[in-house]
Amino acid sequence: MTAMNYDVLVVGAGIGGMESALKLGDMGYKVLLVEKEASVGGKMILLSKVFPTLDCASCISTPKMASTIHHPNITALTYARVDGIRRSPDGAFHATVTKKARHVDIDACTGCQKCETACTVAVPDEFNADLVARRAAHITFPQAVPKKAVISREGSSPCSFACPAGIQAHGYVSLIRSGLNEQAYRLVLDATPLVGTLGRACYAPCEGECTRGSLEGTLPIRRLKRYASDAHEASGNGTGIEIAAPNGKRVAIVGSGPTGLTAAWQLARLGYSVRILEAAPVAGGFLRLGIPSYRLPEAVVERDIDNVRELGVEIETGVTVRDLPALKAQGFDAVLVATGTHKSQGLGVPGEDRLGVLGGTDFLRSVKLGHAPNLTGKRVVVVGGGNVAMDTARTARRLGAASVTVAYRRGRDEMPAHHVEAADAEKEGVGFALQVAPVEVTGDAAGAVNGLRCQRMRLGAADASGRGRPEPIPGSEHVIACDVIVAAIGMRPDTSAFGTQLATDQGGRLVADATSRQTALSYVFAAGDAVHGPTDITRAVGEGRRAAHMINRWLTGGMLAGFDDRLPVVDKAAVLARQKAYALRPGTPDGSTLEAAPADFRELEAPLTDAEATAGASRCIDCGVCSECNECVAACPVDGCIDLRARDESFEAQVGAVVVSTGFKLFPADLKPEYGWGRFRNVITGMQMDRLLAPTRPFNTILRPGDGKLPERIAYILCTGSRDEQVGNPLCSRFCCMYSVKQNQLLMGALPLADVTVHYMDIRAPGKRYDEFYEQAKSMGANYIKGRVADISETPTGDLVLTYEDIENGGGVVKAEYDLVVLAVGVQPNHDAEQLFEVGELAPDAWGWVGEPEEDLNPGATSIPGVFVAGAASGAKDIADSILHAGAAVAQVAAHLETAKTGAGKVTVPA
């Protein structure tokens, strides 16, 4: 961290902070101004007009905002935060400041808003008080200073974070939602050529993490990927992938499974000349030889492999590599070994060499290569509980077996197979013999299998996997009669070909560096199941990407690091808390039709219809906000301006004094449930009304949000959240009467036929020309009724019925109906400033505002010498009072700086 020196740190660039910074800058002090939002201006810039002058708030704010940012003595950081401030014994302050990643180069951005137009994510627009939506890529408001885009990234979306292949699941979902299917395809293609394959055969860890899962159900994320792939296929478009110019380097990849194909794809795009060497007669590895066609048709795999071939990657089949140094000698600069796990593990019981005992992967491979054994009428037992066991069992059903039984030593819940696979197998007539373990393969005189002797098991204490360890039950042995036994109890890599060239562990797995995948032979990298043992195709894709990244780093002399650049995942509870409630929408129906006795290998799962895809994708709630769809990057006219990989940057600033101008929070109106805000759509807050009235207003007219009707009967409820012990705020919020009176006048101007009624406790108009302003509103026709409103209810048409006691006119309980109700919400302290310092250092007052213990003579001085408060951080203030207060603070900041050495600048306040 570099240290910077300034005279003063000003925290918060609302009206109090800007005034403080400007005046200090004018006096010649160097000021560091830190604002957490992407623009200076605070709350004032959001307002329509200001009382009592009815000046347009933006018109009088923007010159001040521009002066602030252009002042030669002010360094203004927007979209930044102060993490903490330490006081050193010499009286100076050390502040840690973090510039939040805005993902846009602030010097390069021209404010053209093309990213905003291209962005596929819409979230509530906080600057329009959530009345409308904004994009993830956006300029906070039209008069923002600086007028530079920011891309809101709150973290990785859980789906994208969960993807072992590193695919931006949220990205392609949001692209499909926007009708950009080809872009969705290309986004996946950026990670792997296997788009159609993963769209069908991925186990979709993304869906397991989908936040929507806790509502009506997860999005069909995997099937959306297939949808994009199918749409691309139907369009006849090329991949449109850009390839770097050849860099003259060559890479050999041993194995053409998902790891090898993905690595080849990535390396070829970087300009490498890549050759894949495959031992099997066809390319694709497990995709082509292991996964049954009803889940993953060959044609889909072939198309995906063609993506790789189109980049000029040569795939040589039927070649078993035994000599790695020979490859080096042939001119390959690096070699990737990605040979997977193709060897079935044996049963390890007597009789396993009998005729009719098969290995699971061998069985699947022979079926895929067209050499299916004849199982017609045979009784088949599949030993094992993994995905290969399920694929084997379901394949056996399709080959005409009379019965298929899965024998597994634990229970259904403990099976490693994906639960959908097991359920589907059962629907297709596969039987389960659970908690049994084979003891012996029994046979007839000819040596052929006629049964599997098993013993029953019970589950004991948990083992390393967390599941109960199966223990035999003595005397429980029995025979399951059968003709064929398939052992699907595990796979191991076949790495014997590399002999002593590469180290292996006792499971036969290749030994490679945990981060870089580099082996002891520096030019050889090893990745995928050959290193980890059997996983799944999505992890294998991720391995391919990692290997390609590291090989490129190694060949270009870079550090072997920097592969995983995900932001931390967002907190799902926090995501759900963004909205008060969610409408449950219909979930996406399951696309598979299963038959009890399937007869062929036709693909089971139907594609999503257009309507299903749109509806499914539209259920996304944009957990991380930015979806990483990359449309902004494509749209930005300035190369390199947008960088989604940018990260927060921190630095330390040493300053002589601090001004906290962190402002206030508006009262959350839902804390008054009797007024129905958040439930009744035509109950809005004062800030929402100010947005409706502002020149940059969302609807260009005043309408009620519930149905867009022009309101004719408008009620105000003053003191919402103020002077109210029930919500813990005994204080008056000072400016709500006045902003309501202002809005009353503006409404009567904009809607001459509307009736405006104000329910008040006292009208507090205690400033210069304020009372005259109130009298003016009365003379324009606004009706003021004294008394608190007890309750609001909603009619079926969205109108609102207020119940109140009419104190000044006889005191009876009155009900009155309105089209629109405005809650004049007050303020709450935000505790931002306190948290900058050591606990208890910056003492709050009795109500939680920044305390001013010497307010009588030193207004703005806090409990910490050298720390001053300006504006509404020390209590509710209107704009004029905030300006005066900032002026008072600045005079004392200057005195502190001038007399810090002598200590003469204090005025003693008598106790």
Binding site: T110, Q143, L731, C732, I883, G887, A891
Partner: protein, 587 residues
Amino acid sequence: MTETMVPVGGPEASARRIGVYVCHCGGNISDYVDVEKVIADIRGAGDVVVAKTAMFTCSDATQQEIVADIQANELDGLVVASCSPKLHTYTFRGVAARAGLNPYEYTQVNIREQCSWVHTDDTQAATAKATALVNAGIGRTRHTTPLVPLVVETLPHTLVIGGGIAGLRAAIGLADIGLKVTLVERELALGGWVKDLGTMYPHNRNGRELIDSLIAGVKRRPAITVLTGAEVVGKAGSFGNYRMSVRIGDPGSASIEVAVGSVVVATGFDAYAPADGEFGFGLDGVVTLPDFKAMVDSATGPLMWKGRKVRSVAYVYCVGSRGTGGCAGQACSRYCCAATVQTAVQLSGLDPAIGQYHLYRDMRTYGKFEPLYTEARKAGSVFLKFDNDMPPAVETRPDGRLTVTVTDLLTERTELAIPVDLVVLVTAMAPRANDELVKVLKLPAGADGFFNEIHPKLRPVETVVDGVLIAGACQGPKTSSESVASGLAAVTQSAAVLKKGYTELDPLVALVVPEACTACGDCLTACPYDAIAMTQEGDRHWAVISAAGCKGCGGCVPMCPESAIDLLGYTDAEVTSMIESLAEVPA
């Protein structure tokens, strides 16, 4: 101080390269004016090299674009048609300067306040008018000349007028920033109103002690010179270099001159004096709040009035404020609700059994003062709300006690007659009668009689007289700590200029062509700023205008029978060209 002479008039119109930008103002203009048509119509105008529209011309992005255009096209004139010049003249002068173009080659055309906002019903006509206004702007720009700001050196010395709490705190604040201070107080003693106060809200501090602390602080600071029993009687010079005359002692005494860079006026307020009979004023037992507060402050137990224990008090609020009972004062005096409930709480502490009745209109214990109101109710004060159409009446009963009659809005408009021992009139803060000072300083006051600030929201301590600042209750009713805050804000405003040692003034000033001047003297009487003087060389006499004193109002220009005066930035050539351009455009 440098005065810059520049030639009047400008180069030939045909020589110019002008850029024109017409703003949408996000719809504020373009919803009613067809801005594209405006651009199309003026594009062919002579000298226009660049013509564009922009969504928000004031945005940073468009500013950058204008800078690039000026440089790429070597523009020598700039016109932006957007909002009021009050808002963005300085913005676009800055843009010009950043591009290397003299800022005074810039013309702002107002097609929002003066066009789109007032012609929302007729797009066609609004568009034609906007085109005409833009043409006029181009016409002016054809004749603009480069001007250089006047640099005025400033004295690091401030005169503070008024030794109340705001003035005292301001004096200390100025001294602590390194400025010299002369503090002038009309009375013989410093301290103003607060020195006579006991317990004050909301921190229960003692007014006398606060003032003592400030006076001690003033004495400790050698940079502060205090003149008591003194009045400001004259002002000469201009911003940064005022020569103030201060008379010490009675009228007729000698004056001294103090040279200062700025002046802080903190002359405070007068308490409203009720008319005889106003809410019983003049009856025995009817007192004003300041008098009552002094009684409570000095009491150590139950209050006594004329030898009798006071058992009950009625407070009539808003006397002299908000037009109550037909009084002239329309404003709310801001401080009095809280001051009254604080006094009532104080009194309840001295005499828990006392009956206190508050007759109010709206209880304005704003912000953190609200708990005082709650405390008063808890201590037994009774609050009754009256309508200004039915104000309370105060009468003396035959037994000598007082009765207050009020129609209470809070109890179904019941008319109540409350017998009390004392009636306290909660009197307003009235503007101080200091006509002499107003005349000397040329400070404008508002309809309420308080001094006017430049902008009540954003520039509350500055006045139209550069370098003359207002602080405390002379600007409007304030509490004590609010007065202190505004005193310190005036310190800040002074220091923002005086710490730098110089200030720049707009060179948009009037200039006399000596050869044409006949020394008739008409301009001298026309100048409201005393900026024009006669000079002579031999027997030739002519008028000279001080560039620092001239505010560029133009009042002298039409008065000159010889047309010997021109106003830089608004020269006859420029204005004539504007008029001709306006006239040329077909309706």
